[in-house]
């Protein structure tokens, strides 16, 4: 162990940082993001079941673990092994490619949907520090611009899927998704401008640090030292957050805005012609972008990894503190994931013209007015 540590210390700083970055990417992707995607699918199925007076997946079991007394049956009943069964099923199912599709695009589309959703997580600070490492894969000082840029790439996957499928329902789904995502990106982008006006920085780590000191954007009382200014700006932040939240639903194609998919009108929208693992990639992409959207809401409006009690508002100095910050961040994300899931089983789908009306004629003017009001308030307060 000692010799290993010595060997590690003798490495060049560049090599060290490359190794650490690789570990962080792999760790975040395979230990955090993919399991979270898998288990949010389970959460979706369980919560929908409970809301609809059903039980949800409660059968899948593993040979040895399932027969542990008390714990085994409990885990089976909670459906803990169901994502494993789903994954195996997705891979083993027949991957059918209809004869009339445009093959190259047909194969490309699921990847183009999934990759941007995963790439966005790269700039999210999911913890303060662990040891000497900052808990963010890429600490970009244009973090939010990167996020919006990458998120808007996600629409290409869906459009391409609709085009490549070469049949009417996917095509309509693709067209709808283009219009919807482009419209709501505007509202979403404008809703966060007040946040940056107040903080003055685009780096997501700095945004969290600022909120840890001056109170969370959407909840200004969550601060160790309260300021009058943050209370004055509270209404603006509520409006910002509301627009951001609703736009996030539209951006991730979730109910009440899942018009690209809307199974009652378009069979399954853009993924009608997809089966097996290709369909699973679209599915994972949807949940991954939900996680990304939750991360963004937590970072921008709910103080990221910080909590104004027990000194958790300062970057961690010990390993335990660092782990606690990661746990706080994950807990906040989980809350918003539950919100995403719950809303899907609560609200009916909007009509297409209502969706467009809400985006262009309500949210964009309100977001613009919000920027103005924030500017006026800031002029008098500071």
């Amino acid at each position: 162990m000692d010799s290993l540590l010595q060997h590690w210390n003798s490495l060049a700083p560049l090599t060290q940082s490359v190794v650490f970055s690789t570990l962080k990417v792999l760790g975040v992707l395979f230990l955090a993001l993919l399991p979270m995607v898998a288990y949010s699918v389970l959460a979706e199925r369980k919560i929908s079941a409970f809301i609809q007076d059903r039980q949800g997946p409660n059968r899948a079991s593993l040979p040895l673990l399932g027969s542990i007394p008390i714990l085994g049956p409990l885990l089976t009943k909670l459906g803990i092994w169901q994502p494993l069964a789903d994954g195996v099923k997705s891979i083993l199912k027949e991957d059918f490619t209809p004869s009339y599709v445009r093959k190259a695009y047909f194969w490309l589309a699921p990847a183009i949907t999934l990759i941007p959703a995963f790439m966005t997580v790269g700039v999210i600070p999911f913890g303060s520090t662990l040891g000497s490492q900052k808990m963010v894969i890429a600490d970009l000082n244009v973090g939010i611009l990167y996020t919006f840029g990458i998120v808007s790439l996600g629409v290409y996957g869906i459009v391409l899927a609709g085009y490549a499928s070469n049949s009417k329902y996917p095509f309509l789904g693709g067209i709808r998704s283009t219009a919807q995502m482009i419209s709501y990106e505007l509202a979403m982008g404008m809703s966060v401008i007040p946040v940056f006006m107040i903080i003055g920085k685009l780096n997501l780590s700095d945004i969290i640090t600022h909120q840890a000191q001056h109170g969370w954007m959407a909840l200004p009382f969550m601060a160790t030292q309260q300021t009058f200014a943050s209370y004055l700006l509270w209404p603006c932040m509520i409006v910002s957050f509301g627009i951001f939240l609703v736009s996030a639903f539209a951006e991730t194609n979730r109910l009440p805005f899942d018009l690209p998919e809307s199974e009652t009108e378009l069979v399954a929208g853009y993924n009608t012609e997809y089966s097996s693992m290709k369909f699973a990639l679209f599915f994972m992409g949807e949940y991954a972008s939900m996680i990304t959207a939750s991360c963004m809401m937590v970072v921008l409006f709910f103080g990221g990894w910080s909590l104004p009690f027990f000194g958790l508002d300062q970057p961690a100095t010990s390993i335990i503190g660092g782990l606690a910050h990661i746990a706080i961040f994950v807990a906040k994300i989980l809350f918003f994931m539950v919100v995403f899931i719950w809303v899907r089983w609560m609200l009916p789908r909007f009509r297409y013209d209502q969706l467009m009306d809400l985006g262009w004629r309500r949210f964009i003017p309100v977001a613009l007015a919000n920027i103005l009001v924030t500017a006026v308030v800031m002029y008098f307060v500071r």
């Binding site: 919560i47 409970f50 809301i51 007076d53 059903r54 039980q55 609560m346 609200l347």
Partner: protein, 191 residues
């Protein structure tokens, strides 16, 4: 009919009361399911399928099976009416040739050498039961037919007879007698 569309009030247009109402309903159901165990399976029937079997109602049209008479003999006389009437062509009857065994009961000339129903094709319409002059095939209460291969789902005569059980007495002659009596007593008097 023309439905009057009232203009929405300010609060209704804000959409927030609907969200609040939806939240109330979903939370109620969530609470009742998680903490009181009031799922559909627990309240409407006494459990879930593989453990608790469903009570099949009288008159249910399940899988068609051949039945035996009270002596354990084959009732089917290989007339092939069911084969002809079967809409999805699920039934395949091999009639006895000149050299094969005759019926295993009195009052019958023939019985099928082989009688196959492809349960994957069967649509449970009940035409075979309706058309059968010997009351030899009935739609019974089996609703869960599964197999690991397509071949397993083609039920042969032996299997159909063993699954079908016995149908008490041959009613055919009784019914024929009733029909004959009704025809002798002509309902409309002629003057």
């Amino acid at each position: 009919m023309i439905v009057d569309r009232k203009p929405l009030s300010f609060w209704e247009r804000m959409y927030l009361p609907s969200i609040w109402g939806g939240l109330k309903i979903t939370s109620k159901h969530f609470y009742n399911t998680v903490f009181k165990g009031q799922t559909g399976g627990n309240t409407l029937s006494k459990g879930y399928y593989p453990e608790t079997k469903w009570d099949v109602a009288e008159g249910y049209r399940g899988a068609p099976y051949l039945v035996k008479d009270q002596d354990g003999a084959t009732k089917c006389v290989s007339c092939q009416l069911c084969e002809f009437v079967c809409p999805p062509k699920a039934i395949k009857i091999t009639p006895p040739g000149a050299d094969s065994q005759s019926a295993d009961r009195k009052n019958a000339e023939k019985m099928p050498r082989e009688f196959e129903i492809n349960m994957l094709r069967c649509i449970f319409c009940g035409f075979c039961q309706e058309v059968c002059p010997e009351e030899a095939i009935f739609l019974q209460k089996d609703y869960s037919l599964t197999g690991l291969a397509r071949g397993e789902m083609i039920f042969n005569k032996e299997k159909l007879l063993s699954l079908g059980g016995t149908s008490g007495g041959i009613q055919k002659w009784k019914h024929k007698l009733e029909e004959a009596k009704e025809q002798e007593v002509f309902p409309v008097e002629t003057k």
